[in-house]
Chain length 366, copies 2
DNA sequence: AACAATATGTTGCTTTAAGATACAAATTAG
DNA sequence: CTAATTTGTATCTTAAAGCAACATATTGTT
């Protein structure tokens, strides 16, 4: 795949093995699988998952979520704690996030940390600079710098918008998003989004690419997508149609599943608006696939045929329709993505960790 | 910029100079410019523009356009000829395009051709394969292969959708499009578009990214952008408002300039729809700038303030608004882009021309 | 069981692109 | 005229990758 010669790759692997990042697989799986072939069998390799770890933290409006992943990008640990971000200054929020992320990391493992990613609901540039973050009341702060100051060790740091971080995380859990163009849509009370091109986040000019929630949809009241298909609207409608005040999403989904007419009307409307958004997105970025996440994504399988029908209505028949798939997005998705950013960076060619001295050097955290 | 050492770059330049692609500038411009500085002055270099050339051809519905550019991407020659693409098979159309492009190339210059780009109004994959091209009635054709077969010499070949090719060409004429995210919109009878990221075309999953013309706009009759702001609608409205049948675009633009009320009403509507499209685009790909081309783009400067006002109405005030600039797109823009594709390819790192033997070798045309 | 065919790992050597160093050359400033 | 500064270039060094040959481990065939 990389076009490397056998001996070249052998040398590189020897280096990585010596450094402890890679090891030979002991229980030989080739013998278990039936398929064999003439010739000396190759040595199977695996990442030494425990050789390094990465931390991600999401500072939300009401909680801080943290995730630790290992070198193989497995989730090692994850925490969620309530937190009122608006009541404390940025510095304190970040301090809390860092403390929560490092809390269960034993002292002797600290040196294996190779990156800390921060995710927050704010628009920022590629260097973590936030001009105005209305949601948390932040103004002109340098998140990278603040995070670096709060960290107990000197490791690379990156801050990213929460929706973008989520998209990065989703490229890890969604295997097919490693290539091609993928549009992620997370449907909760808001509708967030991100775009990945060949497994790498597409930020756009100012880090706002994929913010699909504010797309205008055809609606008498000039709603945007978030207002039209978000949890709030659906539950409002369901509440007034049932007359009950204590309705939950599962009840609504159950009614749609049971084909209760009032629920179907709401779902049909939802499908139409979603189809509209998908068509708009397709026209502009022509994604290979659209990945739906968030709690309301569970509605999609129930009305997939309706969404497809509405799409066909809106599109010329020759126009390609992207695959639409579900991603069971977990609550820690954005923190996971923040950790994955650092994992991606660690494994990328411009990792400065190995640039000069292969012995223990300090990673530059620019 | 490239992080190369002085001696390394010197070696590379020596090679390029020996090969005739680069030469030292003779009339020393440093002496003319007032600014000087201590130290031995550097040797100024320039591309030997005549060392190579690239051809681009656009097979349109009613014409074939060709462009020749040199190594410095200067336009050397350009031709337009009427042609009824629908009346002949693909092979013939391509043969004609190739013939027209090579017609004025003298025999002894043939060897300097380093690429042929083809542009056509059809959706194709990255290898020039068209499944269905309804506009020209093409079906399951391999444009790269057909073009290669029609060429008098063996040079690299690439086919690309006309709107995408246009965007590539525009990155050459629009200097600021070399970095960041640029959205091109060409407003004629249709509205075409393309997206460039850091000067490179973003094709999307199937080469349709940026096809902004079919975006839905908020309109009682559910029009798409093309129907709403294209030349057809504007002229229709202007025709019925003036009562004259022979109106031309310049008349309309003159009336808008003169603030004739009936024209202003039409222009205001145009501005509103354009603003809507720009907002939608911004939400999805967050471009640094939007470049308007096509004959109707001339209307923009007259209503720029109105477009800005409508955008502000639709957007939250914190949301960044991309720069909107004009590009006087010429009739040969798509053919130019096809030629520029080859130029870009020639100058790119994965140019196979120089991969093995620095002496005259055949370029692989995969 | 022996041997051919096949594929992989490994070792030593070669190639090549880039960098380092030193020095010559060309300029400005004083 | 000299010092300071900057660039060009020749020579050497370094490092990454490839090449070639051979050892090794496996399947298939006689």
């Amino acid at each position: 795949m990389m076009g490397l010669n056998r001996s070249s790759s052998g040398n590189i692997i020897a280096e990585l093995t010596a450094a402890g990042f890679v090891r030979e697989v002991q229980d030989d799986a080739t013998k278990q699988s039936g398929y064999t072939r003439a010739g000396r069998p190759g040595i199977l390799l695996e990442l030494s998952a425990e050789a390094a770890f990465f931390l991600g933290a999401e500072v939300g409006v009401e909680h801080i979520t943290t995730v630790e992943i290992d070198l193989a990008a497995n989730i090692v640990r994850s925490t969620i704690e309530p937190f009122d971000a608006r009541s404390v200054p940025v510095e304190e929020a970040i301090r809390r996030a860092v403390a929560q992320a490092f809390r269960d990391v034993p002292q002797h493992k600290l040196g294996l940390c190779e990156g800390f990613g921060l995710s927050a609901p704010a628009q920022m540039d590629g260097n973590g600079h936030v001009s105005i973050g209305p949601i948390l009341g932040w103004r002109d702060v340098d998140l990278n710098e603040l995070t670096r100051a709060a960290l107990p060790i000197d490791v690379p740091v990156l801050a990213e918008n929460d929706a973008n971080a989520f998209a990065i995380g989703a490229t890890y859990t969604q295997a097919d998003a490693r290539s091609g163009v993928t549009m992620f849509m997370v449907i909760e009370s808001g509708v967030g989004g991100g775009i990945a091109i060949d497994g790498k986040l597409f930020r756009g000019g100012r880090g706002l690419a994929g913010e699909v929630g504010h797309l205008k949809v055809p609606d008498r009241e000039e709603r945007n997508l978030e207002q039209a298909i978000g949890l709030g609207r659906i539950m409002d409608k369901y509440r007034s149609s049932t007359g009950r005040a204590d309705v939950r999403l599962v009840d609504f989904l159950g009614d749609v599943r049971d084909r209760v007419p009032a629920a179907i009307v709401i779902a049909e409307d939802w499908a139409r608006m979603l189809a509209f958004a998908i068509v708009q997105v397709s026209r502009l970025i022509d994604p290979d696939r659209i990945v739906l996440g968030g709690s309301l994504a569970e509605l999609y399988p129930l009305v997939a045929a309706r969404v497809a029908a509405h799409i066909r209505e809106l599109q010329a028949p020759t126009f390609p329709i992207p695959d639409i798939v579900l991603n069971e997005s977990a609550a820690y998705g954005s923190a996971l993505g923040a950790a994955c950013m650092m994992h991606q960076r660690f494994l990328s060619l411009n990792n400065e960790r190995f640039a000069d001295d292969p012995s223990e050097g300090n990673a530059s955290t620019s």
